[in-house]
């Protein structure tokens, strides 16, 4: 079982898929309304139409309360009771479980399990072949740069290391789509930058489709092939911006002019989103 992508990315070029688009996640007219305890109805999501292309790194950005986490939870199969249609690689929602891996803001490692056992958790729950899974877990732990830590326990690791392990865990059952909900939100700024670069490397090595929620404009631009901007109440997609920065991206990318232009554009889009909310 190789982790190396069958569609290797060419260095120094923007993301161009090697085959015709086949969307990994397809959302059609997805809306979610829920009632608060006081009986108020909240439009968490309103008429979301979104395709996440296969192999794409998609960043989703928006103010708090714009429903981006709800969107991720719907894709992950954690949130029911929505209107509209969701399919993953052409399969309807029931097949979702084996096809997504989730990275939460908190690593959510089980403190009584060692690193290897933690990474193996999805394989255990999904009843995958144990020997093959162990082999794959070792490869993934090496990929996230923590070879030799297999038998350590979470309390022996730093926050950044724990988050790397939670990424390895999200990949162990070889899902097509990696869902990340503010994966670096709990990390300090320096660790965060290192992790951004690391995750891009992992993504380039595994050819996963990534759907990442973030609060950070620069993170969204730095990592994404495309940035989706959402606005709150009701949660809507207000813009989709293709990021044509060459790959592989590194720390120098952050100081380029094109990068600044993208972040500026997104900042303006986010302002429009929030001023509309105030007008309403």
């Amino acid at each position: 079982m190789s982790l190396v992508a069958s569609y290797p990315r060419r260095a120094g070029q923007p993301y161009v898929p090697d085959r015709p688009f086949q969307e990994a996640v397809r959302l059609r007219a997805v809306s979610k309304i829920y009632e608060t305890e006081s009986g108020e109805t909240v439009h968490a999501l309103s008429n979301i139409n979104l395709d996440v292309r296969s192999g794409e790194f998609l960043s989703v950005i928006g103010a708090s309360g714009c429903g981006k986490t709800t969107l991720l939870r719907i894709i992950a199969g954690l949130e029911g009771g929505y209107d509209g249609e969701l399919s993953l690689r052409g399969d309807s929602a029931s097949q979702v479980r084996r096809n997504v891996g989730i990275v939460f803001q908190d690593s959510n490692l089980l403190p009584w399990r060692n690193i290897l056992q933690n990474v193996l958790l999805p394989a255990q729950v999904l009843r995958l072949d144990r020997r093959a899974s162990i082999e794959r877990a070792h490869e993934l732990i090496e990929l996230v740069g923590l070879k030799g830590f297999e038998h350590k326990y979470p309390y022996e690791l730093s926050g950044g290391m724990r988050q790397r392990i939670s990424i390895a865990r999200a990949l162990v059952h070889d899902p097509a789509v990696l869902l990340m909900d503010e994966p670096f939100g709990a990390l300090d700024a320096l660790t965060r930058e290192v992790m951004n670069v690391e995750v891009l490397k992992i993504w380039e090595a595994t050819n996963k489709t990534v759907f990442m929620i973030t609060h950070s404009i620069s993170e969204a631009v730095f990592m994404g092939d495309r940035v989706v901007v959402m606005s709150p109440r009701p949660g809507r997609v207000v813009a989709e911006v293709d990021i044509a920065l060459p790959r592989p991206r590194n720390i120098e990318t952050l100081s380029g002019e094109a990068f600044a232009a993208y972040t500026g554009q997104l900042r303006r889009l986010l302002d429009i989103g929030s001023s509309r909310k105030e007008g309403a």
Partner: protein, 273 residues
């Protein structure tokens, strides 16, 4: 009170605190406490002989030690200790198992919580010791009634802490399991139960103290043997030295039990730092 128990259990990490201690005093803490104890005993011994305190008021430490050895040599203490020890441990184990199982049912099934939990809370406020005479009537003067009393007294801290521990699980960990399609039983076994263990152990630590208490009080209320029974007998005979000797045994028993608990806890909850 249960919350504080749980938190103190979470914070307590004996191996750590020892490692982090900044200075190493010349005389160890153990030496100081042993010396202090010896000093206290000497003063006691000296005061009793100097003021000629009668034995039935306060026996000298030497008289207590003599009584202890006599009791041990005659086999009376050993026989009665085995009775009380068995009652206490058996009742504690019943409380631990039933308390955890019942707590799990309450935490897992909303209907059990709605129907059973209010009754459990009401029962908890009742002083269990007050039921002891009833239990003796129903279950007799033997060991069985004491096991029931011990279990009744010891079950509540386990039950309450189990419920709290199971409910305290992070939503993120539960979401993780749910996103993988894990069933209720698997989520319970793999995530919720281990997550609740520090809480359950905090409850067990309270329960072990309650178990000894329940055992002795049960014997006071009505019994044919046991260390509590021995205390009553010695009391009638004004053999205060023997009462103290039995108290020493009970103290040692308590220390032994909490050492065993501590050992199990350190092995099982090594990750809880």
């Amino acid at each position: 009170m249960q919350i504080e128990q749980a938190q103190s259990a979470t914070i307590a990490a004996p191996t750590r605190s020892r490692k982090n201690r900044p200075i190493r005093p010349f005389v160890s803490d153990t030496a100081i406490s042993v010396l202090g104890f010896l000093a206290l005993v000497s003063i006691w011994e000296g005061a009793v002989s100097a003021f000629q305190v009668p034995d039935f008021v306060l026996p000298a430490p030497s008289a207590i030690v003599t009584s202890l050895f006599q009791g041990l040599a005659s086999g009376v203490f050993v026989r009665n200790f085995l009775v009380t020890g068995f009652q206490t441990v058996a009742g504690f184990l019943v409380a631990a198992l039933v308390g955890t199982a019942l707590g799990a049912l309450v935490a897992q099934f909303a209907i059990v919580e709605r129907v059973v939990y209010p009754w459990l809370v009401a029962l908890q406020t009742l002083p269990k010791i007050a039921i002891a005479p009833l239990i003796i009537i129903w279950a007799g003067y033997g060991i069985g009634s004491k096991v029931i009393i011990v279990a009744l007294v010891a079950i509540f801290p386990v039950l309450v802490n189990t419920i709290m521990g199971l409910k305290s699980c992070d939503r993120g960990k539960l979401d993780l399991m749910r996103s993988l399609g894990a069933g209720r039983w698997e989520t319970f076994r793999v995530v919720q139960l281990p997550n609740a263990l520090p809480f359950i152990f905090a409850g067990l630590n309270v329960a072990i103290v309650m178990a000894i208490l329940g055992s002795i009080v049960g014997e006071f209320v009505g019994s044919k043997s046991g260390l509590g029974n021995l205390i009553l007998e010695a009391n009638f005979q004004f053999d205060v030295a023997r009462i103290f000797a039995v108290l020493v045994l009970l103290g040692l028993f308590g220390v032994l039990l909490s050492q065993i608990m501590g050992f199990v806890q350190r092995r099982l909850l090594f990750w809880n730092k």
